[in-house]
Each structure stands twice: as structure tokens, then as C-alpha cells.
């Protein structure tokens, strides 16, 4: 089966500019996750969707970050305006998980490496 797709793979922007990342999860996966991974740290969950609804966005800096998953399939994460500290790898993952009571494995995409100058 095809894996989680992300684009672009690399992006370099200047501070105060805007940027958007795209993710297409594995077909049939209900849950989609966006993570931020700063160099030397583990992935930090930014937002989690169950189908097209948000179930957790407690760590999303909502003054500058936004995300949507309009049709319960692919998703876009946007940063506007970007700051130097947003330089990181942005990972998308998906899982089949249908309810909070169930547990399963996340499958990760290759990530987008963002550099803010």
C-alpha cells in the first residue's frame, strides 16, 4: 500500500513569510496527525484530526499556525507569519484508529524540512 505522502520535502523562507505543507494519509485512515520535530528533540504533536474533526490542538500555536482536513482525507498545515523558531521538520502521520477506545499504529510520512531565515 502507498505510504503517507507529504510535500514539499524542503522549504526555505524568510521570517514573516507564509508557508503551507500538504499531507495525504494512507487510504482509509481515519486519524491524521501533524507533528513538529525540532533538531535534537522528539516529535511534538501539533494537531490531531479524527476524520475531518479536530480532537486535539492543545499544542498548536493558534496565533500563527492553522490546519484543516476538509474532506476527511488530505490535510494542510499553514504558518503565517513564520518565525525563526519555526525551523523544524514537520511530520504528518496517519492511523486507522476509529475511536478513542481503540489503539493502533501511526504511519509517518517523510516530513517537510522548514528553514526560516
Amino acid at each position: 500500500e502507498a505510504g503517507v505522502a507529504q510535500s514539499p520535502r524542503y522549504k526555505i523562507i524568510e521570517k514573516r513569510q507564509s508557508v503551507a505543507f500538504w499531507c495525504n494519509p494512507i487510504s482509509g485512515h481515519a486519524t491524521l496527525y501533524w507533528y513538529q520535530q525540532i533538531l535534537g528533540q522528539g516529535p511534538k504533536l501539533l494537531i490531531q484530526f479524527q476524520n475531518n474533526g479536530v480532537v486535539d490542538d492543545s499544542q498548536l500555536p493558534k496565533d500563527r499556525f492553522s490546519a484543516e482536513r476538509l474532506k476527511g482525507v488530505d490535510s494542510t498545515l499553514k504558518i503565517q507569519p513564520a518565525k525563526l523558531e519555526d525551523s523544524a521538520v514537520y511530520l504528518c502521520a496517519s492511523s486507522f484508529r476509529r475511536t478513542v477506545a481503540s489503539t493502533d499504529t501511526q504511519y509517518f510520512g517523510p516530513g517537510t524540512r522548514l528553514t526560516v531565515l
Binding site: 496527525y33 507533528y35 516529535p43 479524527q50 480532537v55 478513542v100 501511526q106 509517518f108 516530513g111
Partner: protein
């Protein structure tokens, strides 16, 4: 706040040496536990997971992990490492009944041929 600690940030071993990477979490309830691995140039992939049952879990490529509830630990082990095990290893925890997924900071393993 819930957290996951991986105390070994960098580990260097020679081939055939034994490996043990520590993982401790802070959460008093039931948890699901994972180890993920990221090989150079590749994306994160699951190594093994524990949901319930036998606390000794076997994963891919000869890795295993033991859940010790009293110690809030889920350490990763491999009896004899290979050069191809060079990678970064992440421990992750999901408190049961939640959607939260909490990762540790990772351990970079370098295996010398």
C-alpha cells in the same frame, strides 16, 4: 504533565555488543507503549508496541522491550547489534482512552563496524 524520558541521548557500540535503551514515562494510569526507529534518510517506523498481555514484547529485527509497570519503564533491548542498527530510536506513550501521543527526545545509536 505527562512526559517521556530517554536518558541516553547518544550511544556508541561495536558490532555484536548488547544494547539497552532506557525509556521512562510519567503517567499513573494505563498506557500503550511504542518504540519507533528512524534510519538515516528514512522516516519514522514502528519497531514494536505494547498494549496489554505479556510485558515482554518482541519486534522486528531482533529487538524486544520489557514493560515494567512498577518502574514506569519500557526499555528496548537487542542482544547483538549490527552496523545496520545505526539509527535514532524514539519511545512513545499513549495514555489509554486518549488520543494523546507523547514522544521522548530520542536516542542516537551509532554502531561501529
Amino acid at each position: 504533565a505527562q512526559s517521556v524520558s530517554q536518558h541516553n541521548h547518544h550511544v556508541i557500540l561495536s558490532e555484536a555488543a548488547s544494547l539497552e535503551l532506557g525509556c521512562n514515562y510519567s503517567y499513573g494510569g494505563t498506557v500503550n507503549l511504542f518504540w519507533y526507529v528512524q534510519y538515516p534518510g528514512q522516516h519514522l517506523q514502528l519497531l514494536l508496541k505494547y498494549f496489554s498481555g505479556d510485558p515482554l514484547v518482541k519486534g522486528i529485527k531482533g529487538f524486544e522491550a520489557e514493560f515494567i509497570k512498577s518502574k514506569f519503564s519500557f526499555n528496548l533491548r537487542k542482544p547483538s547489534v549490527q552496523w545496520s542498527d545505526t539509527a535514532e530510536y524514539f519511545c512513545a506513550v499513549t495514555p489509554s482512552g486518549t488520543y494523546k501521543y507523547i514522544f521522548g527526545t530520542g536516542t542516537r545509536l551509532k554502531v561501529l563496524a
